[in-house]
Amino acid sequence: MARYSFPSIALVFAGVLLAVAPDGRAEISGSAGRAPNYVGMLDLANGDRCEVSIQVERVSFLLTSVANKYRFVRMLVNCGKQTGLTLSSAADRLEMTIEKRTVPAVLSLQKSDSALWDSLDLNMRQTLAYPPAIKPNEPVYVFGFFPADQVNAMPASFTLTIASLGRSVTLQVRVALA
């Protein structure tokens, strides 16, 4: 039976490493770091609070759009244990501050872009529709749609105005402590 010497085995091993080396280079590209989390606290009448947050992942936010018309964000609203929140797509406002400009979000595609809205299936519409209320201690995601042609960079902050409270909250990037 033929026996392999150590130098020949080492040579083959080195050849294999060289052969896969070009693929290995791809692993050093990509994205690193955390997606910024914009957070704000909305004070309710009885001292209770709702935490509002939007996480924006830079690449997916800037590269993807809905029907080439809207960039969307998903806002998590989590109210305290006692008090909920009454919402209204017609009266509430969500705005994005970007390069010293303010861009308002569309909260009701049904009213603003019925052609796009009607093209979505029932399940998707139920997910995306602006909710009528937030119950206490039940986190809910709310979607806001920004005109894609006005959003070409990462937002500096968001401002949410709740008409039923007559108050606004500014969502700013929470600095992560390392």
Partner: protein, 347 residues
């Protein structure tokens, strides 16, 4: 009775035609015994105890009759061959047998195929229909009615049945979920809640519960596979709680949806009538009469027959049991509603 039967059989046995009649007498006795056995099994295996009259109108009795008639027809088709001279045909080798009887054999084979197919079709026609699951959605609730307590009530309803159940869709409803055309159409519709329910149903069985007025009806509206129940008229069913009212309405609307799906909902169901015996599908315009219907809810013999033949004995037994609402007033459910959800039951 036995003596009379013995006398009759003794008389028949002495006749020349007894040999031809005997197999049919056996089939008739078998038919009667099968009816008796199945009736006994039905009353023993289920809480549903039908009357003999109702049982004889049921699909079970009809199926036994179909099988008995099929066997009788088979006996008739398979009677021994006889040659034209009256002598029995020779039973020899297969080829010779075929040569002499081929027309009869072909005729009988065809007759057997027709009989078996007829019995199969009869079975199919007289089979109970399968019932579908139903989605329940809380489209809008009064402040003192919680989705959690209602969901518990619905799950308790599910616990008591094996063949179908309610699915609870907890997503809050807003007309903004509808397409623009649906939203406009429902806003202008005289029955906006039923319109919303129809749009949300996607064509599947669906019951929407709302605290908003229905428009065209007091308590509930039904169309095809969809119903909308409103709690807006609380004074009409007080002092019964909204939970009792909704439990009754859910059972009633589920039955209506199932019957409508199989095309068996009576044409006059929920038609206005001033005379009522408290039937399930009767509607009296006096709002206060609803309390009487809830408290004395039952299936009338006609309704029992309808449900038995459409959906089978288990379904009737379940509906009859659910309608009494005893399950709701029992210690466990009532206790859970009060202790866990803070929901008071009126009765």
């Amino acid at each position: 009775m036995n003596k009379l039967l013995d006398l009759l059989l003794g008389y028949l046995k002495g006749r020349a035609y007894w040999a031809a009649l005997e197999p049919f007498v056996i089939v008739a006795v078998g038919w009667g015994s099968a009816q008796l056995l199945v009736y006994q099994w039905l009353t023993a295996s289920s809480s549903f105890k039908p009357s003999i009259e109702l049982f004889l109108q049921s699909y079970l009795s009809t199926r036994i009759t179909i099988v008995a008639l099929g066997i009788a027809a088979m006996i008739l088709a398979m009677r021994p061959f006889g040659r034209k001279d009256g002598a029995p045909g020779p039973v020899g080798r297969l080829a010779q047998y075929w040569q002499q009887n081929r027309i009869s054999v072909v005729r009988r084979a065809l007759a057997i195929i027709v009989i078996v197919a007829s019995v199969a079709v009869g079975f199919r026609v007289y089979s109970p229909n399968r019932v579908s699951h139903i989605t329940v959605r809380f489209m809008a609730l009064d402040g003192d009615v919680t989705a959690e307590a209602l969901a518990y009530l619905v799950y308790e309803l599910n616990r008591r049945q094996r063949h179908w159940y309610f699915n609870v869709d907890f997503r809050p409803f807003t007309p903004e979920m509808l397409t623009s055309a649906e939203a406009e159409g429902c806003a202008a519709n005289e029955r906006p809640q039923l319109c919303h329910a129809l749009a949300l149903s996607g064509g599947a069985p669906f019951i929407g519960i709302t605290s908003a007025p229905l428009g065209g009806a007091y308590f509930a509206e039904h169309r095809g596979a969809v119903s909308a129940i409103s709690t807006v008229d609380r004074d009409a069913y007080a002092p019964l709680s909204t939970y009792e009212y909704l439990a009754y309405c859910l059972i009633l609307q589920a039955i209506a949806i199932h019957l409508d799906s199989s095309g068996a909902l009576p044409a006059d169901a929920f038609a206005e009538d001033r005379v009522s015996h408290g039937g399930l599908f009767q509607f009296v315009p006096e709002k206060q009469a609803l309390k009487s219907a809830i408290l004395a809810a039952r299936l009338s013999p006609d309704e029992e027959a309808l449900l038995l033949n459409e959906f089978g004995s288990d379904y009737v037994a379940t509906c009859a049991s659910l309608l009494t609402m005893e399950w709701l007033y029992g210690g466990r459910v009532r206790g859970n509603l009060e202790r866990v959800f803070g929901a008071k039951i009126g009765r």
